[in-house]
Symmetry: C2
Amino acid sequence: MLRNLFSPSSIAVVGATAGAARIGGKVFSTLLAHKYAGRLYPVNPSHSEISGLKAYPSVEAIGQPVDLALIAIPAGRVPDAVRQCAKAGIPYVVIFSSGFAEEGEAGKRLQAELDAIRRETGIRISGPNAEGFFNAIDCVAATFSPAIGIDSGKDRQGKRIGVVSQSGGLGFALYNRGRREDLLFSHICSVGNQVDLEAADYLEAMLDDPQTGIILMYAESFKSPRRFISLANRAAASGKPIVMAKVGRSTAGQRAAASHTGAIAGPAVVCDTALAHAGVIQAHDQDQLLDIAAGLANYAPITGNRVAIISTSGGTAVWLTDTCEAMGFDLPEIDGERQRRIAEFIPAYGSTANPVDITAQGVNAYAQSLEVLADADYLDAFIVVSSFAHEARLRAEGPELAAIVKRLGKPVLFYSYTVPSEGSRALLRDLGIHCFTSMLGCVRALAGLRTYGQHLERIASSDASPATLALSGAGRKLLTAGSAVLCEYESKALLQRSGIACPEEHLATDVELALAAAHRLGYPVALKLQSPDLPHKSEAGAIALNVRDDDALRASFGRLLQNAREHAPEAQIRGALVQPMAARGVEMIAGIVNDDEFGPFVMVGLGGIYVEVLKDTVLAPAPVDKQTARDMLRSLKGWPLLAGVRGELPADVEAMADLLVDLSKLALSAEDCLQELDVNPIFVHEQGKGLTIVDALAIRRPQ
Amino acid sequence: MLRNLFSPSSIAVVGATAGAARIGGKVFSTLLAHKYAGRLYPVNPSHSEISGLKAYPSVEAIGQPVDLALIAIPAGRVPDAVRQCAKAGIPYVVIFSSGFAEEGEAGKRLQAELDAIRRETGIRISGPNAEGFFNAIDCVAATFSPAIGIDSGKDRQGKRIGVVSQSGGLGFALYNRGRREDLLFSHICSVGNQVDLEAADYLEAMLDDPQTGIILMYAESFKSPRRFISLANRAAASGKPIVMAKVGRSTAGQRAAASHTGAIAGPAVVCDTALAHAGVIQAHDQDQLLDIAAGLANYAPITGNRVAIISTSGGTAVWLTDTCEAMGFDLPEIDGERQRRIAEFIPAYGSTANPVDITAQGVNAYAQSLEVLADADYLDAFIVVSSFAHEARLRAEGPELAAIVKRLGKPVLFYSYTVPSEGSRALLRDLGIHCFTSMLGCVRALAGLRTYGQHLERIASSDASPATLALSGAGRKLLTAGSAVLCEYESKALLQRSGIACPEEHLATDVELALAAAHRLGYPVALKLQSPDLPHKSEAGAIALNVRDDDALRASFGRLLQNAREHAPEAQIRGALVQPMAARGVEMIAGIVNDDEFGPFVMVGLGGIYVEVLKDTVLAPAPVDKQTARDMLRSLKGWPLLAGVRGELPADVEAMADLLVDLSKLALSAEDCLQELDVNPIFVHEQGKGLTIVDALAIRRPQ
């Protein structure tokens, strides 16, 4: 896909000029500077020749098949130019011109016109308001970015990076920076306003491209979030990691939500969760993006956590140990036998334990240490620390070191604590060794390998398609008729009809019926007024707990009605729900939120004060399998409360995990009609004793 | 101080050789390569001349005054050489040789010998096992580090950085990296094994040195922590910021502690707290150290939080906004009037709100935007984002931009999202503009300016010397006689005698006395066995709560005794404490820990489950003034519980802050005899209603 776009045999440049004063001139001269190998047709009615090439008054005048037109003329004239391209049978155009949707109402109308043209004619449009693309393998420089003026490394071997960026400046800057670190690239694509081709299209093209092994993305928003997630899943399945900077977090406000779950699952949290579950590795600055890409380009992913450091500088080793441990890596102590073997070739003032300090005097000790440690089954990766400010050591030990690194089968990352000299850089390049020059960057790269490896492991072991329960007709009716906010008794009926057990309870429309219900359940009972207009019953004084006898029940019934009338005189009261008092347990909250962009998610958190003050909650996209549900619970800060703290018995974690799986089934099957659901509070009892759902609140999806 | 060390008129190199194969040869050739301007005496009995200079068989043979001897001979011969130096009247030696305390018992003995020599003779020793120093202003390269082979910038003007490093490799690497970013340095000192001169001595010398404006430190441990803190306070008072990497965090285990407070206040937490309160800015990697130094070298500190971004790349601006907000900065919207003025000179598709997107076409718009925003009183700092991959813009707009930046009076940080070209670097240097090349680095630098500015503000406004209460003689006796663990009633007596009120309570040695006490207090009461052997009373079943009448009290008394006998048959029981039941409130814990390195600290946290599961606690070194105490409380994650959550009334924060101030006074006055103190639980009542101390546990300091 997009083959003709990225590797065109012929290009017309509409708006080409000789100088570089205008964008059209810049694009034309950039193509020439990068020695575009196909046929090139400058189109400009004011010139008969530009930079030694015959110029044409229009694309129609070219009279030859053209694969791609690059358009850099004022916005107002762009629609006509695109129409002419379509008429001339040109399949792709890249529009550099600004002045479209990014620039007020007139611009929006112009962009709509482009959209209409592509729907009428089938022509595919990249942009407008784009910086174009650079195919770094075939050297097609269809851009005006000056940042690509650096050797493209097209003849070198290695995993190549494709870049898809919603900001042209940043996309090409990633190339500019990455090439300085000797990373290899396939294509850099600036997506512009995405009137037609969108980020997901370029991503798909990168997935199809055999030369692209890693995809870096910069995204401010998603045009079709679910398509993106589906492509991300395909990327993971085909072993092409996606590393993404998803920005605009600060501007993504909280959603207006009627439920706790909705309020907790703000757009940024939902997006982060969706990306993580699709195996997308997020990065938060350019350096991190490139460092993670460097890791993925040079090493196989890891699933473990255990690192050995081999260093000539004891201080750097200690510092790096801190950095590793701060990012969740362990440095296991080297076993005695291997320590003895290492001690044989390093000075007495070195260290053999881990970090291994071979000291500045240790000759050839990197390779020897790696030989000794290579098959230690308690190590997952290595970091070799050196100073490459001078190339003497690299010249002496480099080839042997490179050979063992290639053989080793585990990642060996290199970090120089000084700035590598140009000579060192050249040697490293020849040896095929990537060198990190930032401690943080090196460990971030290792963390990226781990994130990706653990994701691959998770998808390999996950229950691929948990059976989706079809929401019963009666359950669906609850969500499609009646009010936007379901009362507690209706919300619980929805749960019951989705196979989620709630305690026996009775809706009583008058006090006599309430007494009868209480007698059936046995005192003490809870009494809760039911009204779609009172979603927050506590605040309305519409709840009485521990009602102990008939007299108390009569009194409570009257008091609740009076409270409700004072709180909301217009509230429609459906009656009072009579419930047995629940046995206590660990208080939790669970729920569903149906995100407009990414679909249904399940949320869980410690309840009460934990959710109110500490926001200790975790989200996962539906479907959630049992293992994921367990992992969600374990990732809560309050997990010790479930696991049993200070000698208390552990809570029924399995029952809680089952509830999350069931909620995720409900979330999927009610995706069209359920907006939000709180199950709150839930009392999770001791292990083996299940849980009690005390209250629930469902919100219909606006149709 | 150390003037003769860093700027010697004459140097003897003991162990000098001609080649660079040995350390002595490397040191000698490094001095020559950096054109040492003083008299240089190679000392080596095997040579009569080295590199064209007359060589001497011994330092005595020189026959001229020598300011400094550099020693690079095998460890075993070092003590004799140092003795000869002392005899020859040489005031300072730097010992490069390894093989001392870092290398087993024999090495430790050798080091002890050095210590003895310096005590006998008064000679000052730097090292051993050091990489020496580099005086970058006078070009005294008394080191074998190859990392200093880079222009020292000695003739340039600007704030200079002094480096004091416990790792020579890292210290000189900071210079190597920093010079690449055009930072200016004064001295780089490798402290080695610190047998005599220690990090604090070099720090003091930097504070005395008028050419040093900023000090970077790398520390694995502190030889004299309190002296360091006192120097750090002096540094803050004299406006010389210290930026430090304190490593070895992962190896600093938890302390063995009898109290909650002791367990919470592990060595790493105590050290972080001590450094922060002394105004030391911590950094966690080399880049962060240098970025913060670059900020401090080029800009005045800020106390505010409000940033405007001016960018040619909309994407970079969005991303940078996220980064700023993630690090606690605000981007206030530009006011309407200023937006209108900016709109006049930027293209229509730009943005005026903040970030200000002047677009790639905005000509001279950086300087113009800064002019417009300069006096906006709602902005504290600016970040200018550009691409310096090419120098065209800088050539055109640079001088005007540099002029306004100099005039502006608020920090204007520059960030290039591409790699700056060599031409751009030269232009920036000439313009006196520092350019950050990492987004994270730029915002970290800004955060460093804020940390430092806020510290300066805090020390200016802090209650410099809160009156220290003298612990009464009776209080002191509690801590100097008797058992290592004080019972609750003794711990509370200690509080009472330090002016901290506890509720009335009575120690009853038999059940009749307990009944009398209960009658005096009125039921319900709490009953708690008192034994120095049962510090954890709940676990021993030694507490009865809500005892309602005489019968219950009799029964409880017997039951507690029996529980204690079963739990710890040997426990010495002092009686039962009879207390009124405390009115509930927000449950908190406070305490004191007396750190061996940094002295007494006060701790506070939310109690109960918060401290158990969430470790939501905060520490400060004593003395704590009222404002610091309030800040401590506000920094707790559970602060909303104190401030009043979901309509509940706020708690008596002022009473709690007073308690912390009082505890800090006790901590200081009992520093010699109090090791740890828990005040736990504390019930903090509604605003104006004070607090109740329910239990306390003090641990004596081993004498």
